[in-house]
Subunit: 456 residues, 2 copies
């Protein structure tokens, strides 16, 4: 590395090369290499097809930890792990569900929501109360119409949002709070319409919550197509019942790890730039877009910089966070240790919005730091990735907010993301190699600039 | 329409609604309706699955003409056709090709290039000369090393271009000129590496050219994976031969049509805005992205404006161009008639770059007109479609350049486009409904602004 660095310095003594031109040249090198010699797609294939989905606490998650560890060692990063305890929850046998009318019994696809309790072995069979909001639920609950019934939250993710994450943000509370809210009114269970704008047969799981003041009732997600069927069948079928069986189990916490690969900075090694994705996934599909892509992009970003001998003044730390999906313990542990060790994590980039074509980055943190980072934006215009602005960081890195870290969310095109998210449909074949590589390159370019100039 | 228009005018007499606010409101209405009540995806399904691929002059192209005609009549556009003669070329029985070594014969996937002559019934079997450029070909040709051989143009589409259309522009001359150039040196035939950055088993066809001064020799496209195999096998196999059989036929021109659907402008009906795609496709796959998507987006754009009663001061003309792929006769005929009838076509938008997420538009024509149109750009920022600038129009609308028309190319994300282009792989399932609808809405919004304000 030193040799190239010195030769460039040497050149600049004679030829007027501005630092801006040099930065542009490095960034061009990064994109060229990512597109011509991409490795992330092969790594993702290993993670998705050899290991598969990998819920925290599962044997597959353990294998993913070992895989990430040995991959980053092979790339000559300084690799270590951070132990963290993660919740144990296991889906058990395949769920079953039926819409039951007087004359008919129609099987429909469901998935237990993550963290849900089991139904009795024979399942729960009860009449349906369909609502589209908590207000509707409360109105019905007050007149006793919810007691003993299954509450069907049929909130549609509004397709009119240009950014589907906004529609998700609006609808996902029914998944998270549904069981708690329905239990207050004496409901027997809840069925939640899957969080996607696609109308298809994939139920989408995801975390749900309980509290200590209400009964824990079973909660499942139903595919959007089945949700539409259920809603239609209710009309004219006052006796309609819903019947579902799910047998998930919870258990004591299990030991797991964040896996970290690092390259020390040459001038300011104490200033750290984090780049990461989460290694765990839901327990269906391959966890390809959520979030295999983020993992391999973070690893490839540092590998690009290292293999191109691009000078890094500040330390770059790749973090494979554990347990983003159902607890966030890895992210919390990482922040806890950073605080304990008085580390100066100046910026953290998270790729957890899928592996589609990059559009830009969103920034959260101190306004002056955001302003400084925003000055890098023009470098990304030739790469069509200059949609930059204040916004969300990421579920794992958000734990660093109190440390003054500038939080940066990688923002790819997201029109297709919720077709896959948390479902059987999130498979390797849904990822496009060029789109993935462009993400790795965008992240590498931003890391380079942050490492070169800091955020102060 | 009048009623809404008047009520808005009425409102503005009392409430200070700027025309900019009103334009924004209309554009919001357009996007909302496109995303919530999309019809283009269903239309595309009909075109792709009921009709399928539709090379000009084929019975399927004739069916597509009738389909477009009756769809636009059902939508209450003023529908008419423009007759044009198109070339007749038919692929014949499935091509066959083999790499032949002393010990082995490996079958590889090829497609005759569009317009190519046939091989003799037993095929052409000859040694291979591999080149990556015309310069290499000329060097070998001058020393007689090309005579009697099959020239293998193995030019790779450079994956480092951020916009794959640039890589295509660089590589496609080997498909178009290859046979002419190789024939000059006495080659027996040419095999051209498919125009895609994907490494897979789909050969990609497309137009090739002949001239009157050189012999017409057969030309085919080979899949990229087979191209890599062929290139590797040559090393250490000096006796390697390539053998291929293709039996396409050409015939006299056939009658076909552009199909046009129009809504007259209320204030300046003589000023016309054209929006179109091409109805024909290559004779493999479904012609989904190339260019079913462009057709249904153009139709949906006008349908959105009409069904929302959005006022259109200038005339909007949806054109389903015929024969873009192998002759451009429809585009030429449209321009010829526009000139003959002294029509004032102020702007023409073409969607022929696939149906992926919109990024923006490119403009070609008079600098002042471009400058005026560029002022609309900010309206598209909330819809993430504001990548605007001077650039390419479209193969069909480019014929209008001499008439002073402002040419506008719809620019979607194009990372995946060349995986599908001109191949068996360009099927309906590769199109995403949201991405498609966003394109319809972007085009409708731009048409509205052009219709409201013109380009002068």
């Amino acid at each position: 590395m030193k040799k190239i660095f010195l030769s460039i310095l040497y050149c600049t003594a004679f030829v007027p090369v501005s630092s801006q031109d040099m930065d542009s040249a490095y960034i061009k090198m990064i994109y060229n290499k990512a597109l011509r010699e991409q490795q992330s797609y092969g790594w993702l294939e290993e993670l998705c097809l050899d290991i598969g989905h990998r819920l925290s606490g599962s044997p597959q998650a353990e294998r993913a930890v070992k895989w990430a560890d040995s991959l980053m060692r092979a790339l000559k990063f300084n690799v270590y792990r951070q132990e963290c305890m993660v919740p144990f929850w296991s889906r058990g046998p395949k769920e079953q569900a039926w819409i039951v009318t007087r004359d008919n019994k129609i099987e429909v696809p469901i998935l237990a929501l993550g963290g849900s309790v089991a139904t009795p072995p024979e399942g729960i069979k009860a009449k349906i109360v369909e609502v589209k909001s908590f207000d509707e639920l409360d109105v019905l609950g007050k007149t006793g119409q919810v007691r003993g019934k299954i509450v069907f939250f049929n909130k549609i993710m509004d397709p009119a949002y240009i950014n589907p994450f906004e529609a998700y943000g609006e609808a996902v509370r029914y998944r998270w709070e549904g069981a708690m809210r329905a239990a207050r009114h004496g409901a027997a269970a809840v069925v939640v319409r899957s969080m996607t704008t696609a109308i298809d047969d994939f139920p989408h799981t995801g975390s749900m919550g309980y509290n200590d003041t209400t009964l824990k009732i079973p909660a499942c997600a139903i595919s959007t197509r089945a949700a539409e069927t259920l809603s239609k069948f209710r009309i004219g079928n006052p006796d309609l019942e819903f019947h579902f069986i799910q047998q998930p189990k919870s258990g004591p916490d299990v030991k797991s790890y964040n896996v970290i690969g690092e390259i020390k900075g040459t001038e300011k090694p104490d200033e750290i730039i984090v780049v990461g994705g989460h290694l765990d996934s839901w327990d269906v599909g391959h966890g390809a877009h959520d979030n295999g892509t983020g993992c391999v992009q973070a690893i490839e970003a540092l590998h690009l910089l290292k293999s191109l001998n691009i000078p890094l003044k500040r330390t770059v730390r790749v973090v494979m966070f554990m347990n983003e999906e159902n607890g966030g313990r890895g992210g919390a542990k990482f922040a806890e240790l950073a605080r304990k060790n008085k580390e100066k994590i100046i910026a953290a980039i998270e790729s957890d919005a899928g592996g589609h074509t990059p559009r830009g980055f969103s920034f959260k943190g101190d306004a002056r730091k955001i302003e400084k980072a925003m000055r890098f934006r023009n470098y990304f215009t030739p790469y069509l990735a200059d949609l930059w602005g204040p916004g969300y960081g990421g579920a794992d890195i958000n734990h660093l907010e109190d440390l003054g870290t500038l939080l940066i969310g990688f923002r790819p095109d997201s029109q297709r993301y919720f077709d896959y998210h948390h479902s059987q449909n999130d498979t390797f074949d849904k990822v496009h190699p060029r789109e993935l590589a462009l993400g790795s390159a965008s992240m590498a370019a931003l890391i380079y600039l942050l490492s070169q100039y800091g955020v102060e």
